[in-house]
């Protein structure tokens, strides 16, 4: 089932006098429950594409459907609500609030939720999610008391607190050692397979992309190739 559909997305940044086209007619479809890798060298436009898909940025032209609804032209406030309700973000540098417990970090997005969730229900949900990512015994630890891999798990739990439709992970293993990386990637696979969550991994690392069932390659603001995982592996 189709979750995301992009048609002919263009995005150009103005750097002083110079126009810098970043996306030049991107069209793609992502189905529900897919684990997709968005690959490309730096400057290929993959981060901009992720920002547009995640409602952090808006395209100059082109159309965007999410769950069948046209979301191409939304006000900043409407996009904020969609970010809160439909999107989960996981960042390379975790972006946890310092001196704040894992539980409070996971609870944070609920503060901006338009639907009223009681304090108790929120805490229950956060506890369940932390248990889900394997941190049931670290609820009241602060980020400084957690390893990189554990911090990224807290970040994933935070991204899931509002039951999003899609999870964007921007170089999620960029700051992790290989062991933690493998654990985190396994967690994404699990979330996709077992929980049916749609996950988009944005990376330039073919090893990371190898965990995805589908790879979208970008070059110079265009989608170069969308291949099944076996083909991607064969190319590498």
């Amino acid at each position: 089932m189709e979750l995301i559909r992009l048609e002919n997305i263009y995005k150009t940044y103005r750097l002083g006098e110079v126009d810098l086209p970043v996306l030049r007619g991107v069209s793609l479809t992502i189905n529900r429950g897919e684990l997709v890798a968005l690959m490309g060298a730096s400057g290929s436009g993959k981060t901009t594409l992720m920002n547009i898909l995640g409602f952090l940025d808006r395209p100059d032209s082109g159309r965007y459907w999410l769950e069948g609804e046209d979301v191409s032209r939304l006000s900043p406030d409407q996009r904020a609500v969609l970010r809160n309700q439909k999107i989960g973000f996981v960042f390379q540098n975790f972006n946890l609030l310092p001196r704040t417990t894992a539980l409070e970090n996971v609870l944070m997005p609920l503060a901006y939720s338009p639907e009223a969730i009681s304090e108790r229900e929120g805490r229950q949900r956060a506890r369940r999610l932390l248990e889900r990512v394997g941190l049931g015994d670290r609820l009241h630890h602060e980020p400084s008391q957690l390893s990189g891999g554990q911090q990224q798990r807290v970040a994933i739990a935070r991204a899931l607190i509002n039951n999003p439709s899609i999870l964007f992970a921007d170089e999620p293993t960029g700051n992790l050692d290989s062991h933690s990386s493998a654990e985190i990637l396994r967690l994404f696979e699990e979330l996709s397979e077992r929980d049916g969550l749609t996950v988009v991994l944005v990376t330039h690392d073919a090893g990371v992309a190898g965990h995805a069932r589908r790879v979208i390659r970008m070059r110079d603001g265009r989608i170069e190739e969308s291949a099944a995982v076996s083909a991607a592996c064969g190319l590498v």
Partner: protein
């Protein structure tokens, strides 16, 4: 209804959490507000204390006193002929004391200016007053330095007694105690029965201790002498004869003749020079003036439209000047306090700006998980207001401590001031909003993509 309350509560909790994350810096940030508010509180409390003290001193100096004097229309005896207008009498003083609620006390005064002799020394006092025992109350003179005041009986008997001010005692007696000695005034021996406490110069700069006080009957009929034929019974005889002597028209002669033939002495014919009145308070002075005017109109049978035969003077000018000085001082203090609060507010803004820059990534993250611009604005605004209110509370405590110490150690009068506390709290909130708004607005305008990438 439930949702905004909870959202406010969440924002508040978020603010406390954010401030707790950096306790030291929060404390230092709010120090400006603490100092500003404590300065306001301490100044207001000390200022209020001083204002009350000044008020007490002013009333001590006679700001709540009034003087009723015979008007031009009746002075010099020229109105005796008409018989319809009467000058001030001791009974007027009694009536004022009795019937005017705004009046604390009233005393008639007969003045003389003559030499006082003791042995081979002589001295002409500035004030030689004949009055009643109420005079000491009117002038708020309190107890005597030594001896006893004269009594109403002394007044009735025109007793040959007097009280002396410190200046006269010094000039005539030196270090000797004057109690029981006799001084001679116009060859009338007056026994000194008391010495007044030192009062110093009055508002006009005259030495108030240069005073001799005696029963008004004594001064009027024994000392002043003018028009007095016999010492005893003078109250009846002297004015009555005077009236007859000056009688110009048959009508007035008839009227004036009545007291002569009747038995009751019309004592109001005994003119006095003035009535000194003490109002209940400085504020009650205008009301006291109104009541006295009404009473005297009635007693003197002055019809509406007719000119008064008396006039009332108060210390309004002096009081106004003092009040103006006090207002000016309060204004200055508040101005200084306001400046310190503004400086405190600039400090808050400064640190909030630093905080916004420092927490750029946090702001980006919050926006990425769904915070709208106005959520961020609220968060930082509430943070700044909470900071200011906490600072204000600490400032109130510190200010009260300061004023307590000032009272304790320096013995300056201080008074707790509720308006100052209310003002301090509202000013802290205002400072928090005004100086927190710009940083909060700046935070709310950040682009989430750039904020997330900020190092």
């Amino acid at each position: 209804m439930v949702f905004p309350m909870r959202s406010f509560y969440r924002t508040l909790r978020m603010a406390f959490h954010a401030l707790r994350r950096n306790v030291m810096r929060s404390a230092l940030t709010t120090l400006g507000i603490v100092i500003g508010v404590s300065a306001v509180i301490a100044m207001m409390e000390i200022g209020q204390g001083s204002a009350s003290a000044v008020k007490r001193i002013v009333s001590n100096m006679g700001a709540n006193s009034l003087m009723v004097q015979p008007g031009a229309a009746s002075s010099g005896g020229v109105t005796f002929g008409s018989g319809s207008v009467l000058t001030l009498t001791p009974e007027d003083a009694e009536a004022i004391d009795r019937e005017c609620p705004a009046v604390h006390s009233a005393a008639p005064v007969v003045r003389a200016r003559t030499q006082v002799v003791y042995g081979n020394r002589n001295w002409t006092p500035l004030y030689l007053y004949g009055t009643t025992p109420a005079f000491l109350t009117v002038r708020d003179w309190g107890d005597l330095e030594e001896g006893e005041p004269f009594t109403d009986r002394d007044v009735r008997n025109a007793a040959k007694v007097c009280l002396l001010g410190q200046t006269i005692v010094r000039e005539l007696f030196g270090d000797e105690s004057p109690i029981g000695r006799e001084v001679r005034v116009q060859n009338v021996p007056l026994k000194v029965i008391g010495v007044l406490k030192r009062k110093g110069a009055n508002l006009m700069g005259y030495d108030e201790d240069d005073m001799l006080v005696a029963p008004w009957t004594t001064i009027k009929y024994r000392v002043s002498g003018s028009g007095v034929t016999t010492v005893s019974n003078a109250a009846l005889a002297a004015p009555a004869q005077g009236t007859l002597g000056f009688a110009g028209t048959p009508a007035s002669a008839d009227q004036s003749a009545v007291p002569l033939s009747s038995t009751a002495p019309p004592v109001r014919f005994a003119n006095i020079d003035r009535i000194m009145v003490r109002a209940q308070s400085v504020e009650a002075v205008p009301e006291a003036i109104r009541q006295i005017t009404e009473l005297l109109h009635e007693r003197h049978r002055i019809k509406p439209g007719e000119p008064d035969d008396f006039n009332i003077r108060d210390m309004a000018e002096s009081t106004k000047a003092l009040a103006q000085t006090a207002r000016l001082m309060t204004g200055l203090l508040l101005f200084v306090a306001l400046i310190s609060l503004i400086v405190g507010g600039v400090g808050i803004m400064n640190i909030m700006l630093v905080s916004v820059t420092e927490r750029t990534r946090e702001i980006g993250l919050r926006m990425a998980v769904g915070a709208r611009g106005r959520d961020i604005l609220w968060q930082f605004l509430v943070e700044s207001v909470v900071l200011c209110v906490l600072g204000g509370a600490a400032g109130i405590a510190l200010g009260r401590l300061c004023s307590y110490l000032v009272w304790r150690l320096l013995r300056w009068p201080t008074e707790p001031s509720l308006p100052a506390i209310i003002a301090a709290v509202s000013v802290s909130v205002a400072v928090g909003i005004i100086f927190g708004y710009y940083p909060a607005w700046k935070a709310s305008r950040l682009d989430p993509i750039q904020a997330l990438r900020y190092e």
